[in-house]
């Protein structure tokens, strides 16, 4: 006992670090069976031994643990791939463990073997305290062998999942042009004005566009529309969306007074349960300093003011 520190309190038990280590390490004779396994492993192969029952024992032993009978002299190459039969997740590795990040101890049944081998299973650098979802019984794995092998079970650094998925980052950079009609529409919104187009059929489209979508004919005139209208259809969304304030939120189609097509819009300042088809709504504009030429300047539509007939 070599206490390295004494505490002042008489109530505390004296404690300190202590190490026992046999100089140079104990030696083990491997015998012909385990020795063959380790020798093959040093050469990069994993072998098992066939028992009299025909089963292949991995790692091999001199006797069949099932009934104590001596094994045959037949060595069988197995793996290197295998299947996880069970596992435990090590969320907080200890100093002697093969990894400093979380990993699994797993029983791995190598292809061609009848008994499983226990070894470390590395699920990758992103491994956290909780076992990854892909870690499950049946996971296919392969060993990572060390470059410098010495004939030790740690010549297998670890097992890793077989490659069954890769990521393929894809990115396209665009320059988006609004076109003349949408540019004019967005510009007008900076001033709180909503522009539409009257088609040659007399129908009014909003946002402003160049042509009638039914026949491609050019518009006959630009028209300014009020920022009031009727909610024609809507949905209450319970699926979150970064563009909406919170769930549930209401999206709907607003038919502006004088228009013949609907605007898709967020509906705000109303309990979702009180929203109904036919409700009169008006635009709530962003304050002028928050408006931009590059996106709509209407924050959302809200129920029209009290007193207005909303039927």
């Amino acid at each position: 006992m070599s206490p390295d520190r004494q505490t002042g309190s008489p109530d505390e038990t004296l404690s300190g670090g202590h190490t026992v280590e046999f100089p140079g390490g104990y030696t083990r004779s491997t015998g012909p069976v385990i020795g063959r396994f380790l020798t093959e492993l040093r050469d990069g192969r994993i072998v098992g031994v066939r028992a009299r029952s025909g089963r292949v024992l991995v790692p091999p032993t001199e006797y069949d643990p099932h009934d104590g009978s001596p094994v045959t002299g037949e060595f069988v190459e197995v793996g290197p791939a295998g299947t996880v039969t069970t596992w435990t997740w090590v969320a907080q590795p200890r100093p002697a463990h093969p990894f400093t990040r979380p990993f699994a101890w797993a029983l791995i049944l190598l292809d061609g073997a009848d008994t499983p081998l226990v070894h470390a299973l590395d699920l990758g650098p992103d491994s956290g305290p909780a076992p990854p979802r892909r870690l499950r019984t049946g996971l296919r794995v392969r060993p990572r062998l060390r470059d410098e092998r010495v004939g030790d079970i740690t010549d297998i650094a670890c097992f890793r999942p077989e490659v069954d998925r890769i990521t393929a980052p894809t990115r396209l950079d665009y320059t988006i042009r609004a076109g003349p009609a949408l540019t004019r529409y967005l510009d007008a919104q900076l001033e709180g004005r909503i522009l539409g187009m009257r088609s040659r059929h007399g129908t009014v489209y909003v946002p402003l566009r160049d042509v009638d979508p039914t026949d491609g004919s050019p518009g006959t005139e630009e028209v300014e529309l009020p920022d009031t209208g009727v909610l024609t259809m809507f949905s209450v969304n319970h699926v979150p969306d970064p563009r909406a304030p919170e769930v549930p939120f209401v999206t709907g189609y607003v038919r502006l007074d004088g228009a013949d097509v609907d605007l898709l819009a967020l509906i705000g300042r109303v309990e979702p349960s009180r929203v109904r088809t036919g409700m009169r709504v008006r635009a709530e504009w962003l304050p002028p300093e928050e408006r931009s030429r590059t996106r709509p300047s209407i924050r959302w539509f809200v129920p029209a003011e009290k007193g207005e007939d909303d039927r």
Partner: protein
């Protein structure tokens, strides 16, 4: 349809799953293609042209997947065409394949449609917005929910109809070994107990995200005679589209769908679809689209579709069964979903639909729609050569 007779002489499907991690994209489409070829008693060398259907490239991030998959589908040195009409693409792909034969240009055509939704996120891909306009829908469900509410308000349908459809199609799926969702003993009450996503659509009223592929081999008269199995004869095909927004558009009951149905019925000699069509595989990704399409397709008068559903007429033992395979509500590899409807219709009239076979089915409708209810593709198949 005009031109030479066209027959479905082989059908192949993969099992539909949330993830098909065990196969690559090429492996997935080959699985369906090889099964269809085996069914037709053919191999790649016998095929004259290949048509490939696929929804938006952003779903998997594979641009021009037809070129990528050409050699996987035995298309080297052969005409290969890619079709893309959003969610209706599977149906359009079948129709393009059929017109290849009807034109007289080819005798045996392989048609393949697929989606591997697990490779990315379809909702992300569907909700990418132009930065200078408003986009406030959360995927397909968020887009269709207002139309469904409008249908309910317009028709006075009771709220129980959607859950009835969801339970019916999922019960049918239990008879279909390829179906993705398998929920034993599912009931409308179970559907009603699931969370609301986009009112009025609940979780179990929405289709799943699936990986999967479907393939059919189409042939002319000579090919049909040589095929080992019974052919399904294509009695009519039609496609229609309309803009997503125009003055007077009825998104609940789109004109493109009505026009498409009228066209395909006229070709196939269908006077009354409910009476003359024995079984229908209709694109119903959200439960309420059954009553909505019952009306759009002329099986029921406007406002009356939900009564047909409620009466049990569309059940597998009803007088006008819809989606005996379990439909899109039970498996939705988007790009393949329309071709699956077409293929299942063909299997019914071939007598090859297994445990979800409708006894004596001689005439069947395959239906697909896509984008904002804008693109429609339909075919009618029958057991007799026209």
């Amino acid at each position: 349809m005009s031109g030479r007779p066209v027959a479905v002489i082989g059908v192949g499907q993969t099992r539909y799953r949330t993830r098909r991690d065990d196969v690559s994209i090429a492996g997935l489409v080959r699985e369906a293609a090889l099964r269809a070829l085996e069914d037709a008693g053919l191999d790649f060398a016998d095929i004259d042209a290949v048509v490939l259907g696929k929804a938006p490239d952003l779903f998997e991030g594979v641009v021009m997947p037809d070129l990528y998959l050409a050699d996987a589908l035995g298309a080297r040195g052969k005409p290969l065409l890619r079709v893309h009409t959003a969610g209706s693409v599977g149906g359009s792909t079948g129709i393009v394949g059929a017109s290849h034969i009807a034109s007289g240009a080819f005798e045996r055509v392989l048609v393949v449609a697929w989606e591997k939704q697990s490779e990315s996120n379809a909702t992300w891909a569907l909700t990418l917005a132009h930065p200078m306009s408003t986009s406030l829908v959360v995927g397909a469900g968020g887009y269709f929910a207002p139309f469904i509410r409008a249908y309910i308000e317009r028709s006075g349908a009771p709220g129980r109809i959607g859950p009835m459809v969801a339970a019916k199609d999922r019960r049918n799926a239990l008879r279909n070994p390829y179906a993705h969702l398998r929920i034993p003993d599912i009931t409308p009450e179970m559907v009603e107990a699931t969370p609301m996503l986009w009112e009025p659509i609940r979780y179990l009223e929405a289709c799943p995200s699936s990986d999967g592929a479907c393939a059919v081999v189409l042939g002319g008269r000579t090919a049909a005679r040589a095929a080992p199995g019974a052919p399904a004869w294509v009695l009519g095909t039609a496609m229609r589209s309309e803009p997503i927004a125009f003055a007077g558009r009825d998104a609940v009951d789109p004109r493109a769908g009505r026009d498409c149905a009228a066209d395909v019925y006229a070709q196939a000699g269908i006077a009354d679809p409910r009476r003359d069509i024995d079984v229908a595989e209709v694109y119903v990704p959200f439960s309420w689209y059954e009553p909505m399409w019952l009306e759009n397709l002329g099986f029921a008068s406007p406002g009356e579709g939900w009564r047909l559903t409620e009466s049990g007429a569309t059940a597998i033992d009803g007088d006008t069964p819809w989606n005996p395979s379990g439909g899109v509500l039970s498996a939705n590899p988007i790009g393949a979903s329309g071709l699956i409807r077409f293929a299942e219709a063909a299997q019914q009239v071939r007598g090859a639909a297994g445990d979800h076979q409708i006894d004596g089915a001689r005439t069947a409708l395959g239906h697909a729609y896509g984008a904002g209810s804008q693109f429609f593709a339909m075919w009618i198949v029958g057991s007799e050569c026209p």
